[in-house]
């Protein structure tokens, strides 16, 4: 059956909500002011933050078009871990705490909603054929870091998918690479935690059709102190609250490539 592909001129995309309802609310408000026609979430609603069920009404009420991330897949299938793809003991220690909390505090109905999300989406932005995925088009939890993703691999992904623009997330740090023949790869970033740059704001992406694609990364400032206090009140690791307040990653660091790791504090 032919896949129906919706057409737009201007859309917002983000990934990694990570239970951060205040940042999600601020992002949706900001996107509305920028006159986007649709908002897409590339997965991982849960993890890291407090009160998982608070993000779902926002996503549903604002008509966010979501796809499934590895966290969503794990929650929906009742898996024993988040499937983030960490191999380091320290990363896995914090990931386990986060996942067990999120699993215990996500309602059955919301888990079912996550289970019904598609694994990828396609849209047209003017002439540009856009493929959205969580990690990579081939593996849901594949990390596509800017300094560790070869251009040859991106060209191969786009060729195989018959797409002009690849939009992904999962790593937590945004980037954009123009490719030959007017194609693009965009990691749209996450809104659940800052991107290890010492700033408390988070980021999302606006794509606008045109002769060439316009890629804008939009900073979102929100009430991070309230979120950090909620993290502490819920008994989640203090390291998580520190990241929210300072903008420096304190956990899930060990799979960063050297270039991205060098930019951070830890």
């Amino acid at each position: 059956m032919q896949e129906r592909v919706a057409e737009y001129r201007r859309v917002a995309l983000f990934g990694g909500v990570y239970n951060n309802a205040p940042a999600l609310h601020a992002t949706l408000e900001d996107a509305r002011r920028r006159d986007v026609e649709a908002v897409f979430c590339l997965g991982d609603m849960g993890g890291f933050g407090p009160h998982p069920d608070r993000v779902f009404p926002l996503l549903k009420d604002h008509g966010v078009l979501a796809i499934q991330g590895n966290y969503d897949e794990s929650l929906a299938q009742g898996k024993s871990d988040c499937g983030c793809g960490y191999t380091d003991p320290r990363d896995n220690h914090f990931a386990r705490i986060s996942y067990e909390y999120t699993f215990a505090n996500t309602s059955t109905g919301n888990k079912q909603w996550l289970g019904a999300l598609p694994g990828r989406r396609r849209i047209r932005l003017g002439e540009h054929r856009v493929l959205m995925c969580h990690g990579s088009p081939r593996v849901i939890n594949e990390f596509l870091w800017e300094s560790a993703t070869p251009t040859g691999l991106l060209k191969r992904f786009l060729g195989q998918a018959e797409a002009d623009v690849l939009a992904c997330t999962h790593t937590g740090i945004k980037w954009h690479r123009p490719l030959p023949d007017g194609k693009h790869a965009v990691n749209v970033g996450v809104i659940g935690r800052p991107e290890n740059d010492g700033s408390s704001n988070v980021w999302y992406t606006v794509l606008t059709a045109g002769p060439d694609l316009s890629v804008e990364f939009i900073p979102v400032h929100y009430d991070f102190e309230t979120l950090a206090r909620q993290i502490e009140q819920e008994g989640l690791p203090l390291e998580f609250a520190e990241t929210i307040r300072t903008g420096w990653w304190t956990t899930c660091l060990e799979n960063l490539p050297s270039r991205e790791r060098a930019r951070g504090k830890y």
């Binding site: 960490y86 191999t87 380091d88 003991p89 320290r90 081939r138 870091w145 300094s147 560790a148 993703t149 070869p150 251009t151 040859g152 691999l153 060209k155 191969r156 992904f157 660091l253 060990e254 799979n255 490539p257 050297s258 270039r259 991205e260 790791r261 060098a262 951070g264 830890y266």
Partner: protein
């Protein structure tokens, strides 16, 4: 340093014909066994019995490495690794690292003993100018000099630690790789991972990176016999989690299924072409049991 030749290592190869297989999924990692088994150290647990005297697996010519990098680029490789032996014995290692870094993020596995200030400066220059990350894995088997050097040879500890310091000083964030060879000597203390992180922090390394790998029963740690995997062992197991589903190794004589078994006839999948090696890999060796049981990958993460 010249290669001293002597009799090749005798390798006992179990049969691969009836072994379970792993389908090839994708080329995530290209490994280049650049110096074969030529090394300036002679570690007691070395998986391929590398050393200065008997490189039973020869270094590969620069043009072979360049052709592998070119082919891997066309095939959508995600990362490239250089290993040996000791890669910094190879006369063209820096030029080949530069060629690899033009294509993909690149890692070099080293014992660190040949990385002096001048080499560290060159590596830092390479990393700064590259499109992708350069990762340097420095092997160290224990945080105690005596225990380490009992495995890796006299003076190896001090030289490796010097390499870690001078790489760190240049912002290169080396990944310290340790086997579990002496872990039984630290029973009751901190786990290996925490012990190494604490050791690195004590050196002033602000962003300690540690990779722990099991000891494999081959090379100088080989034992007679050894269990092999059967189809029953793999019932319900996702074979795509094994590194031979997404890695290939270019070494003297051809392309092999994984870095652990590079050079062994049973693991050879093609005589030269990378794409020709994209076929089922036999899980024929006792070392395959270790990967199956531990989830081991030779990749950085």
């Amino acid at each position: 340093m010249s290669i001293r030749m002597s009799l090749p290592l005798v390798v006992n190869e179990p049969g691969a014909e009836h072994a379970p297989v792993v389908p090839f999924l994708r080329l995530s990692a290209l490994w280049i066994q650049i110096t074969g088994t030529w090394c300036n150290l002679e570690c007691t647990h070395c998986i391929n019995a590398s050393g200065p005297d008997d490189p039973w697996l020869k270094p590969i010519a620069p043009e072979v490495a360049r052709e592998a990098i070119r082919e891997a680029d066309e095939l959508g490789v995600k990362e490239i690794y250089f290993t040996g032996g000791e890669p910094f014995l190879h006369g063209e290692i820096l030029a080949l690292l530069a060629a690899a870094l033009a294509v993909a993020p690149t890692t070099v596995l080293t014992n660190g003993t040949l990385i002096d200030e001048a080499m560290a400066d060159r590596l830092a220059g390479l990393a700064r100018g590259a499109a992708y990350s350069l990762e340097i894995r420095v092997s160290l088997d224990d945080t105690d000099p005596e225990k380490n050097d009992r495995i890796r040879g006299a003076g190896a500890f001090d030289k490796a630690v010097r390499a870690i310091r001078i790489l760190h000083d240049r912002g290169l964030l080396p990944i310290v790789t340790a086997t579990e060879i002496t872990s039984h000597e630290h029973a009751g203390g901190l786990g290996m991972y925490e012990r190494f992180r604490g050791f690195l922090a004590g050196l002033g390394v602000e962003k300690p990176r540690v990779k722990i790998v099991p000891v494999f029963a081959l090379g100088r740690s080989s034992r007679e016999g050894g269990r092999r995997l059967t189809e029953d062992d793999l019932e319900g197991f996702d074979r795509g989690t094994l590194q031979c589903s997404e890695s290939r190794v270019v070494a003297d004589g051809g392309v092999y299924a994984c870095p652990i078994l590079a050079g062994l006839p049973g693991a050879k999948l093609s005589d030269g072409g990378l794409e020709a090696s994209f076929r089922d890999a036999p899980l024929y060796h006792p070392s395959c049991v270790t990967c199956h049981e531990t989830g081991m990958t030779c990749k950085n993460g």
